[in-house]
């Protein structure tokens, strides 16, 4: 590999491979061993997974429980804009919405983070200073991930330097599907190192992984490599976050904590547009991973239009009558 942009990357390539946490320390000793480990994970019963989310989706969450769920979901939102047409003005207005989602009701909780492209992280950081709202930036040649590692690492360092304290990276799906798992592992490790203090969310892009078995393997791979969060999708590929995928990922973080003691967060992103969808995800979190994950530190929604629907439902509960899209901001 050539390293025109970044001589440090060459040194990183030459450095000894970082080991996964015990008891999986030797899983990455060779390509064959790592493949054997990932393929040795229990298979996912797809029909069973769909049936399980189907049953959990019928839970009736009403009145005070619904109010709690809505406020919790708002506080978990990573308010996102990832368009080619993004401008500093749009990011500032998004930041204003993040600070005060519903100007008619100051008791509305703030969202967890604002998620933008790396070049706009500085604008978001400036607008959010002192609020406790995180600035997340997508990096590593988002959304395709098709660039050399040096470019990806430069992308990450740039976003962190601009003020991002959370980095959303994409894995190399081509390498993953071709079975070059160690390449993917090494890349996540390198990105994690480039992040420094910043939190790392690893986007698996489950819509391109095809099977739930692959989702489980990619989840474990990302957690072993040191990801702080595993995230379903970029939002640019359909299908994005589906409930069965989320179920498999919640099981993965639960099992990973049981084995290693380290807790990893989950972020479904893309395709979650209604309060009902969000509540179904919260039920899934509670039933599969447990209440430890029911906090913005461990569970996030990557969304843009979801927030408005949550606010409309919140207004409905508060006033007793239906609200309309004229009563939330256009974004």
């Amino acid at each position: 590999m050539t390293h025109l942009l970044d001589p440090q990357a060459a040194a990183a390539d030459a450095a000894p491979r970082r080991e996964p946490p015990p008891p999986f320390g030797d899983a990455t000793r060779s390509e064959a061993a790592f493949r054997a480990f990932l393929h040795g994970l229990p298979g996912v019963d797809q029909v069973g997974a769909e049936a399980r989310v189907g049953v959990l989706g019928t839970r009736s969450i009403k009145t005070t429980a619904k109010a709690w769920a809505i406020d919790t979901a708002i506080s978990m939102v990573d308010l996102t804009t990832l368009e080619g047409a993004d401008t500093p003005g749009k990011v500032r207005s998004l930041a204003a919405k993040a600070r005060q989602p519903d100007p008619t009701d100051p008791s509305t909780p703030r969202v967890a983070a604002v998620c933008v492209y790396g070049d706009l992280a500085g604008v978001a950081r400036e607008a959010l200073t002192g609020t406790g709202i995180h600035v997340a930036a997508v990096a590593t040649a988002f959304p395709s991930g098709r660039a050399s590692r040096a470019v990806k690492l430069a992308d990450v360092r740039d976003a962190v330097a601009n003020g991002a304290d959370e980095i959303d990276m994409v894995i190399d799906r081509g390498a993953f599907l071709a079975g070059r798992y160690l390449d993917v592992f090494d890349e996540i490790v390198a990105v994690k190192e480039a992040c420094g203090e910043a939190h790392l969310k690893v986007i698996l892009e489950t819509g391109e992984l095809v099977t739930l078995d692959n989702v489980r393997r990619a989840s474990w791979l990302a957690m072993l490599a040191g990801g702080d969060f595993i995230k379903t999708s970029t939002g640019k590929v359909s299908p994005a976050a589906t409930l069965p995928v989320c179920l498999v990922m919640m099981e993965a973080v639960r099992d990973f904590r049981a084995a290693t003691g380290r807790q990893v967060g989950v972020k479904p992103a893309g395709g979650i547009r209604t309060t009902k969808d969000a509540v179904k995800h919260l039920v899934l979190v509670n039933e599969v991973a447990g209440p430890d994950w029911l906090s913005p530190d461990w569970f996030r929604f990557g969304a843009s239009s979801l927030l408005n629907d949550l606010l409309l439902q919140r207004q409905k509960l508060r006033t007793g009558h239906y609200s309309g899209p004229d009563h939330v901001s256009v974004d």
Partner: protein, 288 residues
């Protein structure tokens, strides 16, 4: 000859161009004026009303943006399809309202003619209700009527087809989308009108028909922030003032109900067109 078993019908709602059951799963029996069973109808719930408003709002952009000419053609086509269902409408009106077959036929004829009449209004509204304003200044001023938005209609309780058409067609002719609560006891002509609309060129969501109880659904629609106007013609006796008060919270246009259901065969004039239009005035300077 053996008696053929009757096909007992259970009708559904008409929302967003489809025919869903009520979210609540409720139905009620519709009888003729002598109490004989006619069919089952869905009893819409507040959540059905909510879904209907969402559908009407989504459909508003396309319907209000269509040219007046096109809107007129689409509405005229509805009258054509109604004509094809003439016999069915006559049977339902006769049974529901207890009319003789000749009087029922007259009512259906009048309803279809009324629809055609309103279809003709689409491209005349701007000329009659808008125009150039006389202004003492160096600029032009123009006013044009624009549709109000999503209109909730509590349809007349007694006149099940002519009354329904008389309140619904003007809402559509102006370019609004509608959420209609049909006559509670006589919903069948409205159900058939839904089938007519579904097979005509009216886009899904422009008209949403909810069968059920106006006393139950009225307050939810009156209070709904995303409904821009409400026609209280079919409001339950004595409840109109309460509904008007609820509607004030979101500054809706309100059409008050007459003290008694009017004679729908009379010439309607423009009194049902103007309440659902907003006047937009623009000015631009005279070139010097």
């Amino acid at each position: 000859m053996s008696d053929r078993l009757a096909v007992r019908k259970t009708y559904k709602l008409y929302v967003n161009g489809a025919f869903p059951r009520s979210e609540s799963g409720r139905t009620y029996e519709v009888t003729d004026t002598r109490g004989h069973f006619l069919a089952n109808a869905a009893r819409a719930s507040r959540k059905d009303a909510r879904d209907a408003v969402v559908a009407a709002r989504a459909a508003f952009g396309k319907w209000s943006g269509a040219t007046a000419y096109n809107r007129g053609q689409v509405l005229y086509r509805v009258a054509e399809v109604m004509e094809g269902r003439h016999v069915q409408f006559c049977d339902e009106v006769a049974a529901g309202e207890g009319l003789s077959s000749s009087r029922a036929r007259a009512a259906v004829d009048a309803a279809i003619d009324r629809w055609v009449w309103y279809a003709g209004w689409t491209d005349k509204l701007a000329a009659v209700l808008g125009g150039a304003n006389p202004i003492a200044g160096p600029y032009f001023g123009f006013s044009t009527p624009e549709p109000t938005g999503v209109v909730a209609v509590l349809a007349p309780q007694r006149s099940s087809l002519l009354g329904l058409v008389s309140v619904l067609a003007p809402v559509l002719a102006c370019g609004n989308t509608a959420v209609v609560v049909t006559s509670g006891a006589r919903p069948l002509p409205a159900v058939t009108l839904g089938e007519v609309l579904a097979t005509s060129d009216v886009p899904g969501g422009v008209v949403n028909l909810l069968t059920g109880d106006a006393a139950e659904l009225g307050p939810w629609l009156a209070e709904h922030d995303d409904v821009d106007a409400i026609d209280l013609t079919g409001a339950p006796a004595g409840r109109a003032m309460e509904l008007e008060r609820l509607a004030a919270g979101s500054i809706k246009r309100v059409v008050r109900p007459p003290s008694e259901e009017p004679d729908w065969t009379a010439d309607p004039g423009t009194s049902r067109l103007t309440p659902f239009l907003e006047t937009k005035s623009v000015w631009h300077p005279i070139g010097l």
